[in-house]
């Protein structure tokens, strides 16, 4: 398929245009990506290339102080990406392939960080491991300075490794056990199977996780704000340029500096992945996976996994305990005041707003993700790589950049002047308190843009594990593209769709860097409120917010799992409804 000529691809494009449903879908997707992803990034780059921007570039690039900040950012990103991916891999592998007890519990606990705002972890880490930490000081008597790189690596890894875990777990589950069996039958040891079958099959997943974690880490704003100390990173510099100085040019210049490594890693990874990708062509796995039960493998892995689990449990234990006590570790009297503040008091507005906006963004992101996945993975038309790339930019670019881009583009109405009709507002003002829906529209768009890439990757990953022949068969039997998508493709990638939806909702509920510049007096966002509470040391309120946020996300996951279903239908041995 790779040798398709240019003419073929153009022909394929024509074929899409002839299918009305597909064509409308394509047009919507392309317009959406141009307006919500490309234009803000373009505006930001444009702003950085103004005369003042060029001067700032020169100043930053030659200044040792800024070179140091840049190195800090990279160092932190690479550390978190490497450790986080490794953790995710170990957990995922153990979860699927190794016979250990408490699998469901491990799975549940590993997912908790994904459904909670990052500050929760940072704040709990401060209380546990800081100078006055309940573990470092109260137990070991050490005044440990957690501010800086070590603390950041810890909290960022814990916050983001579940993304790697989920990705890799999905992929390991999708591996066909028949391959392992074949390799074993041919005389390979388990280690050799792991090395030459399992890992190569997972390279796209590992690389993808590394990419996601790297950009998440270098773009993360909440954690460096809480415990960066004097370890300056680009994200916090950008933040101060906006909130303290409202210098959009300086912010844009720093953003471009942050954008370059993000994009570089992204591009290298894509190229590399596409060269090393190994695809099984057997459709969905049908057998039961082989389980490793050699005690020398099982128990060390189990101990490692349990250590991670224990750390997460302690951290979230602190969050829960903190939400129910006056001032944890100072005045441990039980209280419900913090919950009263969030549920009935001032915080209720943010709680409702955030949930509503996330609920609006989630289905849109899920459907868009699957649609784009289908368009880029199954249809070999000119421009599919560009569409895939542009969509992925939504997550490849750091959130702060997107936020600044939105401020630049949508802070006024976008108008075009037409003959006869006159000036028409194509897109009204979207950001700021006086914008449409009190600025909520921009936030929903950002939520979608940030969530679609994960859904897209999950969709593509799922599709690449399914032989296109299955769909071709459907088309040969007379179904149209839409019918095939709906009745064949969609059920097969249902787990991917579900994980896309879950990711979208959890992501939207917990995102901060992309929307921190977009919250308005009329649209309050929980994560932003939590940051305020954390910064001012009202940890109780912050933790209560976190607990409620976690409960909302978990409830939503339950609802989504029931509504969408977790299976593909192919797992069953009997084929039902042959039509």
């Amino acid at each position: 398929m790779r040798t398709l000529t240019r003419n073929h691809r153009i022909a394929e494009f024509r074929r899409i245009t002839q299918d009305p449903v597909l064509f409308v879908g394509l047009v919507i997707v392309v317009l959406f990506v141009i307006i919500t992803v490309i234009s803000p990034i373009y505006a930001m780059v444009e702003e950085s290339l103004t005369e003042k921007g060029r001067e700032l570039f020169e100043r930053y690039l030659t200044s040792p102080v800024y070179q140091r900040i840049f190195r800090n950012t990279m160092e932190m990103g690479l550390l978190v990406a490497a450790i986080g991916t490794a953790l995710g891999f170990v957990l995922a592998y153990v979860q699927v392939k190794v016979a250990v007890p408490f699998k469901r519990l491990i799975h549940f606990i590993a997912l908790v960080p994904i459904v909670s705002p990052p500050f929760a972890v940072a704040t709990a880490a401060l209380l546990l491991f800081g100078r006055n930490g309940m573990i470092t000081y109260d137990i070991f008597g050490v005044r440990y300075d957690i501010y800086g790189l070590d603390g950041l690596t810890l909290v960022l890894t814990l916050s983001y490794f579940p993304v790697a875990y989920l990705n890799l777990r999905g992929m390991i589950q999708a591996l066909d056990p028949a391959l392992d069996e074949a390799a074993t039958n041919l005389g390979a040891s388990k280690w050799r199977v792991f090395r030459t079958v399992t890992v190569p099959m997972l390279i796209p997943g590992i690389a993808g996780s590394f990419l996601l974690l790297f950009v998440e880490a270098i773009a993360d704003l909440g954690n460096p704000l809480v415990l960066g100390g004097n370890y300056e990173v680009l994200a916090t510099r950008i933040y101060v340029s906006i909130v303290g100085l409202y210098d959009t040019t300086a912010a844009a210049v720093l953003s471009v500096v942050l954008l370059v490594p993000s994009l570089l890693v992204f591009i290298v990874q894509r190229y590399w992945i596409s060269r090393t990708s190994v695809v099984s062509i057997t459709g969905k796995p049908s057998g039961t996976p082989q389980v490793i039960n050699h005690p020398l493998v099982v128990w060390p892995l189990f101990a490692a996994v349990m250590a991670i689990v224990l750390l997460i449990v302690i951290i979230y234990g602190v969050i829960f305990a903190g939400a129910f006590t006056k001032i944890l570790n100072v005045n441990n009297e039980l209280t419900l005041d913090h919950f009263d503040f969030v549920i009935n008091g001032y915080g209720s507005e943010a709680m409702k707003d955030t949930t509503q906006l996330s609920a609006i963004a989630t289905p849109i992101a899920g459907v868009l993700g699957m649609l784009i996945a289908f368009l880029v993975a199954r249809k070999k038309w000119t421009g599919r790589h560009a569409l895939d790339f542009a969509t992925m930019l939504g997550i490849a670019v750091p959130g702060t950049i997107l936020g600044i881009g939105y401020l630049l583009v949508f802070n006024g109405p976008q108008q075009i002047t037409l003959p006869v009709i006159g000036t028409v507002t194509v897109i009204p003002k979207l950001t700021g308190g006086r914008a449409v829906f009190g600025g909520a529209a921009a936030i929903v768009l950002v939520y979608i843009v940030r969530s679609v890439p994960a859904a897209l990757r999950a969709g593509v990953a799922a599709l690449s594990q399914i032989d296109p022949a299955i769909e071709e068969a459907s088309v040969s039997l007379g179904a149209d593209n839409f019918g095939t998508f709906r009745r064949i493709t969609l059920p097969l990638i249902r787990p991917a769709f579900l994980s896309g939806l879950i990711y979208a909702f959890a992501r939207s509920m917990t995102t901060i860097s992309a929307i921190i510049f977009l919250t308005t007096p009329r649209t309050k966002i929980m994560t932003h409120q939590i940051l305020n509470e954390v910064e001012n040391g009202r940890y109780g309120n912050a933790f209560a917010y976190c607990v409620i946020l976690i409960v909302i996300v978990l409830a939503a996951i339950g609802i989504l799992a029931v509504a969408v279903g977790t299976t593909t239908g192919a797992e069953k041995t009997t084929i039902e409804g042959a039509a």
Partner: protein, 369 residues
């Protein structure tokens, strides 16, 4: 088919018109505003108490966003064409002076302006003072003891290498507290220079000279070696001291007392620098082109009443009220007991932008050894 397309067109127009209608502001001239959006700079619980009380009093639906002083100024500047807020309440006056200089504030003279002390009324009634407070050092007793350091009583004490990574202050770009701290040092350095040679510290108009500002930057470059983190909001370092993350926080004294009252009694102690400390007059102003001007004016009138000014103490915000008829909480740190510098708010306001930009470029991002 034609009918259908007409229908679709109508539907499209209608959906487009809904959001457009939503943005069209209601005619502001006649309307008695039924909502008010406050940009609130003091601590959150005070913002809550104030807006609730105002809402109960007037029936005007009042919401607020809390932002630190510098953040507020930046936000008002960024949204000046179509302001989101109507009234800006709280934060040191120099930010208000800077804002008036930039044409972001609409002068308005409330009835009670006459009872305020002279220095609590801005030029042309551009802003009015609502509270006062002095900068102090809020220290964690236990940590200081371990470090073998006495609670600091001078700005020089903060440069003690034993306090490395054990001091926090806010970033002057976002926080008025931190800017007040900075200008305090500028004033002290100007006094020093003036004592050495007449005209070296202050120019003919009584403003601190560039040399004094440079000397202040030198001080903060040294202090930077001991700073663990620059926070966004002014009071945040106090919490860090209270929870044992740092030994000394440079914050307003009333914020330190607030911590003591709210559960950290005996954990933190408040001291003042002997050579003199700076103070703030918390300002309040009507924002230019405010979307809810009538409600905003009502707020300004109300906020100067003794009843409104007494609300702070109920949430342990122990700033000194500016209306002399307001009862003062016995917990409030009194300015009479402290050696205050001759803080020139106007000079501070005029130099604000230049100083915070320079601080952000030269001091904050520097690595420490």
């Amino acid at each position: 088919m034609k009918k259908l397309s007409v229908l679709v067109l109508w539907a499209l127009t209608a959906t487009l018109a809904i959001p457009l209608a939503a943005v069209t502001p209601a005619a502001p001239v006649l309307a008695q505003d039924d909502t008010l959006t406050v940009l609130c700079t003091p601590q959150e619980d005070w913002c809550v108490a104030m807006t609730q009380a105002f809402q109960e009093e007037t029936g005007i639906e009042t919401s607020y966003v809390r932002m630190s002083s510098g953040e507020s100024l930046a936000r008002i500047r960024a949204t000046q064409d179509d302001p989101e807020f109507s009234v800006w309440w709280g934060g040191p006056a120099d930010a208000f002076i800077a804002a008036y200089e930039e044409g972001l504030i609409e002068p308005y003279e409330p009835e009670l302006a006459s009872v305020l002390p002279e220095n609590a009324v801005g030029e042309d009634h551009s802003w009015h003072g609502i509270y006062m407070g002095a900068i102090g050092f809020c220290s964690n007793v236990e940590l200081l003891e371990e470090l073998g350091v006495e609670p600091p009583t001078s700005w020089e004490d903060l440069l003690n290498p034993a306090l490395k990574s054990n001091i926090a202050m806010a970033h002057p770009a976002t926080s008025g507290t931190a800017f007040t701290t900075f200008w305090t040092i500028v004033t002290l350095k100007a006094d020093e220079l003036e004592a050495e040679e007449e005209g070296a510290g202050y120019d003919e108009e009584g403003m601190p000279t560039e040399a004094a500002i440079d000397a202040a930057f030198e001080y903060f470059a040294q202090l930077h070696q001991n700073i663990l983190q620059y926070t966004r909001s002014g009071a945040a370092p106090g919490q860090m001291a209270a929870t044992g993350q740092i030994a000394v926080a440079i914050i307003f004294a009333h914020d330190c007392v607030k911590l003591q009252v709210e559960g950290f009694e005996g954990i933190v102690v408040n001291t003042f620098p002997e050579e003199g400390t700076g103070y703030e007059i918390g300002g309040m102003a009507l924002i230019k082109n405010a979307p809810e001007p009538e409600a905003a004016k009502r707020w300004i009138e109300w906020a100067l009443t003794p009843e409104a000014q007494a609300i702070g103490a109920t949430v342990n915000s122990l700033q000194l009220p500016t209306n002399p008829d307001t009862p003062i909480s016995e917990l409030s740190p009194r300015l009479e007991d402290v050696n205050l510098v001759d803080y020139n708010f106007i000079a501070a306001g005029l130099h604000r932008t230049e100083i915070v930009e320079r601080f952000d470029a030269e001091i904050a991002p520097q690595p420490t050894d």
